[in-house]
Symmetry: C2
Subunit: 453 residues, 2 copies
């Protein structure tokens, strides 16, 4: 089936590039990094991840291409890749998207595929797949515009930005008019805040010291290094053993002193009662937030935990499947920190909805990063939040994990504990050509070499 | 990787068949039926479904095989099939499961695959995939035991049944001890209730009159037929147009009279405000329940709608992704009817958890059926509920949609408005060999024939 012929999003000819350029192919690659050998990324639920990307390239008839990805942790990356391929008929043959309206139409068509919707709806493999394609389309449009995504998106009018959002299931918490008000209030200071980002960057915190597989010495050394690198916040993984957590958090607090924030992250390990009891034991070390205390699906449990552990903040988001669950977490007072993820939900469009919801409820957005390419992508979204939505960095900070950046053509850079504002056109998801060759699973030389050893 | 060697569920040699039979292959087929041509299954969100199954066969070294499926509505069935294939290493080489403990171990190993868990967790394509495999393992075990699944499962001890359940994330609503109490209370009358099922069957309602694509004449004719067939409850799809719904529901009420229950089903079409306003207009026709008024992810929205539309019941479940969301729907008083689905969640084990949760909260389970094979499978689960869990059919009824049964070797049968208790060994998911040949997508003769026309 050719794109645009199945009744949603309008015929392919009605939107897009004035110069007639079209998307001619959607290529998907299964790229995996053997991270489980170093225990980078090890936590209470994920003991041996091989950080991976189902990587998508939108090939065009002329000019720049678009790049996107879904992040996984190994097995199943091929399933994720297959899910992305299943969306090809929606984009191949389509004019290259250029405007907010083009990008809104593409997102609506993908979300509205009623047969594929059954596989979610709007969650899991199918939703991450469409998120990867939507993000690749945004990357493409921003490249064509010659702007980094954060500038491209935050340069749109409030009306255009509202038009990106699917308000289905949101109207009991956020209406289009309320969203427009939020965006209009932030409009006057946009240029000034963009200039501040270029000058000062955006606050970051580092998770590098805290992986569960690390020794105490490695933890202490990396915490010291974090201070030396200019961070004023670090994060530790918890939830494996209470004794270990008490010892490790005590050690970290000793190393960094009382003024540096230490967040802890349980990676969904606990039930409600355990979460509350465990955090009571960790409270003397003044944790800044508890992240993913329980199932990401459990709004009511997060609300109960938030009430019990206050003033410790509750944070979640990297596994929150869509805007409907974020909406409820906010309505129920279940989160104090919204950790949106660039690749879990339906791409830029749904993340704009999540930024607007968080702004409506006055809850800070502190994006989840790490993985493969998440630091590269989420910095754009946090910067859009600052420039065009919330208008502030107060209580806001982007996660930083210092690995795998060398594989990207426009890698995230953190200096003095702050993300540098990206300047290159696009959404920064492009992997280097050598990486695509070396790490292709299962036939790239990195993987065939592992098998031979 | 060989099954049982990756650290969860114990080594493959510790459980299973005494006679040494093993699972030697996991085969997956992409089977699709071109139902969109007749508008069977058309509703407000799914205008043109091609009912499909990602069909799994567990081949064994000796004796009966096991059959399971994930139901989809067309595009993406290949992705669903790929997700099932990705689980092969957990089952191939494993002893044929025979006991409750074997089936608990298999489910735990599949749910516990930390790399695949990232793709959910416990939702969407990845979760339906493991549900299909778990169900196939139950089918296999029941066939080996020579019992229909409902007898096989409801013959287990309360302790064995509790052992099937993953209580992670449930303990704030249901503990293992509470589950044991529920099962023990139902133990005395088991034999008598099983005999009653064989004698009288289990109450059914029919959705056949109500698909949105049908004309008024077809609706009225089928509603009349439903009465003649002995049903005392029918269901209509709503949510496309309010005027149409008022007319159609009025017509149906006129045909069936005041004493037959008419449920309505919006298939997730509405936001909260629309749902409440729409149901106010339909209230004069005395709808029995409103099904899927909004997003299946939206616990708080269902709760708000339930408060506003009472005494009309709120029902949902066919798209509820897992036990954690069912738990919250029950905790929040958001549902009056739990519509579990055999193929949406993690198979029999998770559905046992959902039956126990519903029993704990005193809410009736009325399974979702239709699709491909759902009638065949859910009748077993409803019968387990009656025999071993809730001990009653009060307020309980299984959906009946009269299509595609001819493709199954042990088809669901409804007589006089009641499901006949299945007597053949297994879980009834086996498709006929001719169907596997004729409807295989895209190369079976039914599909190549369509292309040629």
């Amino acid at each position: 089936m050719t794109a645009g012929t199945d009744g949603r999003g309008g015929p392919a000819g009605t939107t897009g590039s004035g110069d007639g350029d079209r998307i001619v192919a959607l290529d998907v690659l299964d790229i995996r990094f053997p991270t489980s050998r170093e225990l980078d990324g090890s936590d209470a639920m994920n003991p041996d991840p091989d950080y991976s990307a189902a990587y998508v390239v939108l090939r065009t008839s002329n000019g720049p291409e678009g790049y996107g990805l879904a992040f996984t942790i190994g097995r199943g990356n091929d399933v994720q890749a297959a899910a992305i391929r299943s969306l090809a008929h929606h984009v191949v043959g389509r004019p290259v998207p250029e405007t907010a309206a083009d990008l809104a139409a593409l997102s609506a068509e993908l979300v509205g595929d009623s047969q594929l919707r059954w596989l979610g709806p709007e969650k899991g493999v199918a939703h991450m797949a469409l998120g990867a394609v939507v993000n690749a389309a945004w990357d493409l449009a921003a490249r064509r515009a010659g702007l980094p995504l954060w500038r491209f998106l935050s340069g749109m009018t409030p009306e255009e930005i509202v038009g990106l959002v699917d308000f289905r299931y949101l109207s009991d918490a956020l209406t289009p008019d309320e969203a427009l008000d939020i965006l209009r209030r932030a409009e006057p200071g946009r240029a000034e805040r963009a200039a501040a980002l270029v000058r000062d960057g955006y606050p970051a915190y580092t998770t590098s010291p805290g992986w569960l597989g690390y020794t105490d010495d490695k933890l202490a050394g990396l915490a010291r290094q974090a201070l030396a690198d200019g961070f004023d916040m670090i994060k530790l993984k918890v939830g494996g053993s209470l004794d270990d957590d008490v010892r490790r958090l005590g050690l970290a607090r000793e190393v960094v002193g009382p003024d540096v924030r230490i967040a802890v992250d349980a990676n969904q390990r606990w039930d409600v009662g355990t979460a509350i009891a465990w955090m009571r034991e960790l409270a003397p070390f003044d944790p800044y937030w508890i992240e993913e205390p329980t199932s990401p699906d459990d709004v009511l449990a997060h609300a109960a935990i938030a009430r019990a552990v206050s003033p410790i903040r509750v944070a979640t988001g990297e596994h929150v499947q869509n805007r409907v669950v974020f909406k409820q977490l906010l309505q129920a007072g279940a989160v104090d920190v919204v950790q949106l993820d660039a690749c879990r939900v339906g791409g830029v469009n749904e993340n704009v909805a999540i930024l607007l919801l968080a702004a409506k409820f006055g809850v800070p957005v502190c994006p989840h990063a790490g993985g493969v390419g998440l630091c590269e992508l989420v910095r754009h979204l946090a910067m859009v939040d600052f420039v065009a939505v919330s208008g502030t960095t107060e209580g806001r900070v982007i996660e930083w994990v210092d690995h795998l950046h060398e594989h990207f053509t426009d890698p995230a850079v953190v200096r003095g504990g702050r993300y540098v504002a990206p300047a290159e056109p696009g959404f920064s998801a492009r992997l280097r050509d050598e990486t695509l060759t070396d790490y292709r699973y299962p036939d790239g030389p990195v993987w065939t070499g592992l098998e031979e050893r």
